[in-house]
């Protein structure tokens, strides 16, 4: 299971990559593998204000609907429009072309409540 060291993780299986004042969000390799073949992703619209650990959309596999949560608060500045036509990118490349959205961070202190790769790995092994 891939678990890049340069990312932060949430207990809800999202990852966050800090890029200056922005954060890029996706779901982990563990999450995509647990969900199975992903056929639909519903994301918030650009401009929407989202709050840390709040529900922001859904990820659907062939069999199931799962809620998507955000690891940080902020304003949505970009969503990965390619997922609409190719949701399987989340399965293929969860940390790369399978990214979900980019937010303008509201509070950099929020990252303190996120997990390192090794701390997240422990959760997935429980």
């Amino acid at each position: 299971m891939a678990l890049p060291e340069n990312l932060l993780y949430s207990k809800e299986h999202e990852w966050l990559r800090i890029e200056g004042e922005h954060g890029v969000i996706g779901i982990t390799d563990y999450a995509q593998n647990s969900l199975g073949d992903i056929v639909y992703v519903e994301l918030p619209k650009v401009g929407k204000q989202i709050s840390q650990f709040g529900g922001i959309g859904v990820v659907e596999s062939v069999k199931a609907v799962s809620d998507l949560f955000t690891p940080v608060s902020g304003e949505v500045v970009e969503v990965n429009a390619a997922l609409e036509g190719d949701p399987a990118a989340v399965n293929r490349d969860p940390y790369g072309e399978g990214w979900f959205l980019k937010v303008k961070l509201k509070d950099s202190n929020e990252t303190k409540s996120l997990l390192s790769a090794s701390a997240y790995e422990k959760i997935t092994q429980e």
């Binding site: 199975g36 073949d37 056929v39 639909y40 519903e42 859904v58 062939v62 609907v65």
Partner: protein, 367 residues
């Protein structure tokens, strides 16, 4: 009180060994997926897939009066079945709702096999005992006998080396009693995927040997072990009902689209009057097929609208790789006026209406 632990089929260790993801279904720990639902689905449509269906209830029935007894309890004709024929059949309640949908297999010497849904096996076993008849003996093999299905266009070619009977000459919905890998078995040309294929009924003691022999011989030709996840997508595409969804104690076979299996020519059977009245009225809600215009899948329980009026709800829904190059499909129970093919409806998904249209079933038919 704790839930009783899920039972294990004879193939449980094989599933675990080969990395299946297990879920509880119908009281058994069953594989929901192996390599992935879409990959398994593709194998069944293009080559073949192997399924463990040992959770299904298997009742052996014997005696000279079985056909007459069963004809009084079911909607389809039993007595007219030829030896070694299989036939889909439904047990209904007095209101016409379905207790279960099943398959009868007529074997030699007044022997029969009745296969019922796993989730209904206890209910059906009790029900059959409530209606005892002289000349009918029942034996419950649920969990004792295994069921392995090979489904897909390559099924004849892949199964043939393991049996002595000429599989290509077997007719659809007929069966033979023959050995598979040296074990006595019933081989039926039946299935639940919309593809050609076979179902092998065998004592659980021989199941692992057969399962592994088939995979070992044909995995390199693309035979994939499959889970219940792929099976559900395959059956939905093929327009086949799943008990608890398109048929229930409330949803009758007339509503569910199984009127072809309701034989009003039989003088009497449980539910006959209610079903005859429904057919005559032709105004009860119906199960219809829907294709979704957008990419959001419709799921069980979602509301269905015609204009501003709620006309029903989704009963099954999935992404369907074999329909229109990959489309979301669903079944819905809707008011009769909304059930005509071509009707434009909408499905409410998380507060937003999504366009859908009523289409003829099945969604997928093999070429």
């Amino acid at each position: 009180m704790n839930e009783p632990a899920a039972r294990r089929t004879a193939l449980y260790d094989d599933h675990r060994k080969h990395g299946a993801r297990m879920v509880e279904f119908g009281g058994f720990d069953m594989p929901v997926q192996y390599a992935g639902i879409l990959k398994e689905h593709d194998a069944v449509r293009r080559r073949a897939g192997l399924f463990d269906l040992s959770h299904m209830g298997q009742f052996r029935i014997e005696g000279p009066q079985v056909a007459a007894w069963a004809d009084a309890l079911t909607t389809n004709a039993v007595a007219t079945m030829k030896p070694m024929q299989a036939r889909y059949n439904i047990f209904c309640n007095e209101r016409g709702g379905a207790h279960d949908d099943t398959i009868f297999y007529r074997l030699p010497e007044d022997r029969w096999l009745l296969v019922v849904n796993a989730s209904n096996a206890s209910k059906m076993w009790s029900l059959l005992h409530e209606r005892p008849a002289s000349g009918v003996r029942l034996k419950n093999r649920h969990g004792e006998d295994a069921l392995i299905a090979m489904q897909g266009p390559a099924s004849v070619a892949m199964l043939q080396p393991h049996v002595d009977v000429d599989l290509a000459s077997m007719k659809y919905y007929f069966c033979v009693e023959e050995e598979v890998e040296g074990a006595p078995a019933l081989i039926a040309r039946t299935g639940y995927t919309g593809e050609d294929g076979f179902e092998i009924f065998v004592d659980g003691a021989f199941a692992s040997n057969i399962w592994n022999a088939l995979l070992k011989a044909h995995a390199h030709e693309g035979l994939e072990p499959c889970g219940l996840g792929a099976r559900d997508v395959l059956r939905l595409e093929a327009g086949m009902p799943l008990y608890g969804h398109e048929l229930t104690e409330e949803i009758t076979p007339v509503q569910g689209g199984q009127s072809w299996a309701v034989k009003l020519t039989k003088p009497a059977f449980t539910g006959r009057e209610a079903l005859a009245a429904q057919l005559e009225r032709d105004d009860d809600p119906r199960i219809v097929g829907l294709t979704m215009a957008g990419r959001a899948p419709a799921r069980e329980g979602y509301a269905v609208f015609a204009g501003e009026r709620r006309v029903g709800e989704i009963r099954s829904g999935s992404f369907a790789p074999s329909v229109g190059g990959g489309t979301n499909i669903a079944t819905a129970l809707v008011e009769r006026e909304a059930a005509t093919v071509g009707t434009a409806l909408a499905v409410e998904i998380r507060g937003t209406r999504h366009d859908a249209s009523v289409v003829a079933l099945p969604f997928y038919k093999r070429s």
